[in-house]
C-alpha cells in the first residue's frame, strides 16, 4: 500500500479526483483501496477514469446509500446484543459517522464494481 506522504504529485492529483471530503478544514480521506492500487499507477489511472463518471452521475452514491441503510439496520440489530459504555472521546462519533456513513459504503460499491470488471481467476 502506497504511503500518502511519499506519493508522487501526479498520483496525488489523480487521487484528488476521487478522495472523500473529511471534516471541514480537516484532512481529506484517501480510501485504502486506492492506496492499495497506488503502486500500480497506470491501472489506478484507468480505474479512476472508469469510476469517475459513475461517481459523478451519483449512481455510486445511490448504491452506497442503499448499502448504508442496510448496514444501519444490521448494526441496529447487532447493537441490541452489545453493551456500549459512553465513548471516551466526543470526536469518535464524528470518525464513525464519516467512515461508516460515507467512505466505507462507497468503497464497497467501488470495490465490487472493479471486482466484477476484472477477469475471473
Amino acid at each position: 500500500m502506497i504511503d500518502v506522504a511519499a506519493m508522487p504529485r501526479e498520483l496525488a492529483q489523480l487521487l484528488d479526483l476521487v478522495a472523500t471530503p473529511g471534516e471541514e478544514g480537516g484532512p481529506r480521506v484517501i480510501q485504502s483501496l486506492y492506496r492499495h492500487l497506488g503502486d500500480r499507477p497506470a491501472f489506478l489511472a484507468l480505474a479512476v477514469t472508469l469510476l469517475r463518471q459513475r461517481l459523478e452521475d451519483g449512481s455510486v452514491e445511490r448504491a452506497a446509500g442503499s448499502l448504508n441503510a442496510a448496514m444501519g439496520r444490521a448494526a441496529d440489530e447487532l447493537a441490541r446484543s452489545l453493551s456500549a459504555p459512553p465513548a471516551p472521546d466526543a470526536r469518535m462519533r464524528r470518525v464513525l459517522e464519516r467512515f461508516g456513513g460515507a467512505v466505507i459504503p462507497q468503497m464497497i460499491v467501488v470495490g465490487r464494481l472493479l471486482e466484477e470488471a476484472l477477469p475471473q481467476r
Partner: protein, 484 residues
C-alpha cells in the same frame, strides 16, 4: 477480495456506530429555514411537516421565514449554518434548480452546499381567472387571447419563478400574447386578481383554490385533490407545457448522508400518517399501478393537446419542495492527505494486541483505517474493541458484513465492461519501492521479474502478509450461501 475486506470492516464500523447511536438525533431543537414569506405554500408545508417531525422526534421544530430575493437570502443563511443537521431548509425547485439555471452568479451551490434529504410536497401550478371572467375552459382563454393579442394580462410572483416560467411557456406553446405583470409575491397577485386588476394568474393550487373556484388548468397526471372538478376536467383536455421545463425541474441530485436518509424516513412517516399532510402534499410513492395509470392519462392528454394545439403537450408543471440540509464542501484547498492514524508497526501494548486479534478474527491481513484512526483518540480503540468483541468472536459481525456486501444493489450503476480493464495486464511496472509486483505470480514465487526488478526486490524485503489458517477457518464457519 478487497471488497470483502472492506465489507467486513464496514459492518464492524457500523456496529460501533450503531452502538454509539444511543445519543440519538435530534438532541436539541431543529430549525427549518423557509426562504419565502409566511403564508405561502412552502411555508404551510414546512409548518405541517415541522409539527409532525416535532411529534416524531420529541423535539421542537422551529420554522424561520427568510423571504424575498428569489429565495437567495434564505439559502445563503442556510448555507452559513453549521452542517450538523440542526438547521434544515425547505428547498424548492425554483431555488435549487431554476436560480442556478437562469442567474449568472448565485452565492450558493445547490449540489455541493446542501444535502437533499427528501421530497415534501408537490404543488401543481394552475392558471386561474377571476370569477367574473368569461372563460370557462382553457380553450376559451386561448381563443380570447388570440382574438385580442396583448390585451389580457397575468400576474406572477417575481422574475424567474416557476410561475413566471410556466406562464411564459404557456404563451409560447399556445402561441398567444398575454401581458405579464410582476408582483413581489403571489399574495399580491391573487389580491389583484380578486380585485379584477388583472385577468389571470399562475400559481400553486394550494393558494388559489382557497381564493378562486375558477382554476382553469391544473396540469397533473393525477387529479389534484383540491382542484375543482371543472378545472380537473379542463385539465384533461387542454394546454401544452413544455417538456423542457419539466425536465429542468424534475432533475435533482439526491445526495444523502446517513443522517439525511434517517431524516428522509422521518419525513415519510408523517406524510403517511397525518391526514392533513396527506391532503396538503400529494403522495409521491404511487407504486407501479399508479404510475401506469398516470402514464396512460398523460398519453391521453398529449393526444388531446396535439389535436387542440397542434403540438405535443406535456404532462405536468409544478413546484417541488424538499427538505435540504447543509453539507460539508466537497473540496478543500490544501494538500491532499490522509487522516492521522496509528500504523500497525508503531502500535504497542494493548493496541497491538487488539490489532492482532482484529486481524485474526476478521481474516484480513491488515487493520482497517477506521480502527487505526480511532486508535489516535484517547481510549478509542479500546472502547471500540470492548463494544465489538462479543459479536466479533461469535461471528455475527462477519456474517452480517458478508450478507450486506453481497446484497449491495449494483443494478443502478453502469457496470464496467471487462474489456475496459483488459489493458491493465500489459501496463508498466509499479512504482519503485512498492511491496507488490506488477506480476502477481512472480511476487508469489518471490522470483525477480524481468520487467520490474525494483518492486520484486522490495517484495523480498517486505514479505507479503499471508492469511492465517485460523482466518480461513473463520470464513469457513459462515453459512454456505454467504460464503459464495
Amino acid at each position: 477480495m478487497i471488497s470483502r475486506i472492506a465489507t467486513a470492516l464496514a459492518a464492524l464500523a457500523f456496529a460501533a456506530s450503531g452502538a454509539l447511536a444511543q445519543d440519538k438525533y435530534p438532541s436539541k431543537p431543529v430549525k427549518i429555514i423557509v426562504p419565502y414569506p409566511a403564508g405561502q405554500a412552502t411555508d404551510i408545508a414546512a409548518r405541517i411537516v415541522g409539527e409532525a417531525l416535532g411529534r416524531e422526534w420529541g423535539q421542537a421544530v422551529v420554522i424561520e421565514n427568510i423571504g424575498g430575493g428569489a429565495a437567495i437570502p434564505g439559502l445563503v443563511t442556510a448555507r452559513g449554518a453549521a452542517p450538523d443537521g440542526y438547521t434544515l431548509l425547505m428547498g424548492t425547485s425554483a431555488a435549487l434548480v431554476v436560480n442556478p439555471a437562469i442567474m449568472d452568479k448565485i452565492p450558493y451551490d445547490p449540489f455541493n452546499d446542501f444535502t437533499m434529504i427528501g421530497p415534501v410536497f408537490r404543488n401543481p401550478l394552475i392558471i386561474v381567472a377571476n370569477e367574473k371572467a368569461p372563460y370557462r375552459t382553457l380553450k376559451d382563454l386561448v381563443d380570447a387571447a388570440k382574438k385580442e393579442p396583448g390585451k389580457l394580462n397575468w400576474g406572477y410572483p417575481g422574475a424567474g419563478t416557476t410561475q413566471h416560467l410556466t406562464g411564459e411557456l404557456f404563451k409560447q406553446v399556445a402561441g398567444v400574447d398575454i401581458q405579464g405583470v410582476m408582483y413581489k409575491g403571489s399574495a399580491q397577485a391573487v389580491q389583484d386578481l380578486l380585485g379584477d386588476q388583472i385577468q389571470l394568474s399562475v400559481d400553486g393550487i394550494g393558494r388559489t383554490c382557497r381564493t378562486s373556484r375558477r382554476a382553469s388548468s391544473a396540469r397533473s397526471p393525477r387529479p389534484a385533490p383540491r382542484a375543482p372538478a371543472a378545472a380537473r376536467r379542463a385539465d384533461r383536455r387542454r394546454a401544452g407545457l413544455s417538456r423542457l421545463l419539466r425536465r429542468g425541474l424534475g432533475r435533482r441530485r439526491r445526495d444523502q448522508g446517513r443522517a439525511g436518509r434517517d431524516r428522509h424516513e422521518d419525513l415519510r412517516r408523517p406524510a403517511q400518517g397525518d391526514e392533513r399532510s396527506r391532503r396538503a402534499a400529494e403522495a409521491h410513492d404511487r407504486g407501479p399501478h399508479g404510475r401506469q395509470h398516470a402514464a396512460r392519462r398523460v398519453d391521453r392528454v398529449r393526444q388531446e393537446d396535439r389535436r387542440h394545439l397542434g403540438r405535443g403537450g406535456e404532462e405536468e408543471q409544478h413546484q417541488d419542495a424538499m427538505i435540504v440540509a447543509r453539507r460539508a464542501s466537497r473540496r478543500w484547498p490544501g494538500p491532499i492527505m490522509s487522516p492521522s492514524r496509528v500504523s500497525e508497526r508503531d502500535a504497542s501494548g494493548e493496541k497491538a494486541a487488539i490489532f492482532a486479534e482484529m486481524k485474526r478474527l476478521g481474516g484480513v491481513p491488515m487493520v482497517a483505517l477506521i480502527f487505526r484512526h480511532l486508535a489516535t483518540l484517547p481510549g478509542g480503540i479500546e472502547w471500540a474493541w470492548g463494544v465489538l468483541e462479543p459479536a466479533w468472536r461469535q461471528g455475527h459481525l462477519q456474517e452480517a458484513a458478508w450478507r450486506i456486501a453481497r446484497s449491495a444493489p449494483m443494478d443502478p450503476i453502469a457496470a464496467i465492461p471487462r474489456a475496459a480493464l483488459a489493458p491493465w495486464a500489459s501496463m508498466p511496472r509499479p512504482l519503485p519501492g512498492s511491496t507488490r509486483c506488477c506480476r502477481p505470480t512472480t511476487a508469489r514465487t518471490r522470483r525477480t521479474c524481468s520487467r520490474c526488478s525494483a518492486c520484486c526486490a522490495a517484495s523480498r524485503e517486505a514479505p507479503r502478509p499471508r492469511r492465517s489458517r485460523r482466518a480461513h477457518g473463520s470464513l469457513r464457519r459462515l453459512p454456505g450461501r454467504l460464503r459464495r
